[in-house]
Symmetry: C2
Subunit: 121 residues, 2 copies
DNA sequence: CGGTATCCTATATGATACTG
DNA sequence: CAGTATCATATAGGATACCG
């Protein structure tokens, strides 16, 4: 998010902060878990590249959507959780998820497949 | 949205349908207007490229989110409106917009600027 | 375990010109 | 007015290897 950018709508601003291919998903999974480690998160979003996941997390941290806590242990432990405005995003993303379910039921677009063990989120 | 893709979460599915840089914005503006012509829409999303706008609209039409109505007039008139699952997206996007306003107030990220005449959406 | 470094690619996006 | 065609490019995203 460039600070001097000109916005034409609030949704535009929101998308600038949490838009993109992965951020909503990451936020949703952190929210669902409460607290989550890097490795768990990676397992919940299997298709994401490590470098990309790492970068997205940093950006979300910079935007004050999430908090990153490093524990000085061996092996290392790093935990992510939502903070403030990150938390208020959860219900919205839940709605979006429900919308997806309904869309799938209604239009049944080519038999949408879900990995069984992940389906319960 | 590839029909044989494997999803790990409903949000993932939703994002596949209405995600991206422009689609949520387009849907939001069509929803706000009820019915809107191509040119008006372009004015509401000034930064979008015509080719891109055109393509996004076709994709949303294919996904049965919007409806495209062509009137056989000169000069040509084409109107877009939300249908079915497109309509149920409106409250969610409104929430997202409100979230952006609150984020802006709370963190006041480098004085976010809005074009005055657009601010009222 | 939780990353980063390096290098690479695709796809989305964009500028411009043109048309029924 | 509502686009499409053509061409160009940037940036997000990815593969792989390696490290404290």
């Amino acid at each position: 998010m460039a600070d001097n950018k000109l916005y034409y709508c609030n949704v535009e601003l929101s998308l600038d902060i949490i838009g993109g291919k992965w951020k909503p998903l990451i936020i949703h999974h952190i929210g669902g878990a409460g607290v989550i480690r890097y490795g768990e998160l990676k397992r919940k979003v299997p298709n994401i590249n490590e470098r990309v996941l790492s970068r997205q997390l940093r950006e979300l941290e910079e935007s004050k959507i999430i908090q990153r806590t490093v524990y000085d242990e061996v092996p290392p432990r790093v935990e992510y959780s939502l903070i403030e405005m990150g938390k208020t995003l959860v219900p919205i993303l839940n709605e979006l998820g429900l919308w997806g379910i309904e869309y799938n039921q209604k239009y049944n677009h080519g038999e949408i497949h879900f990995e069984d063990e992940y389906n319960n989120l």
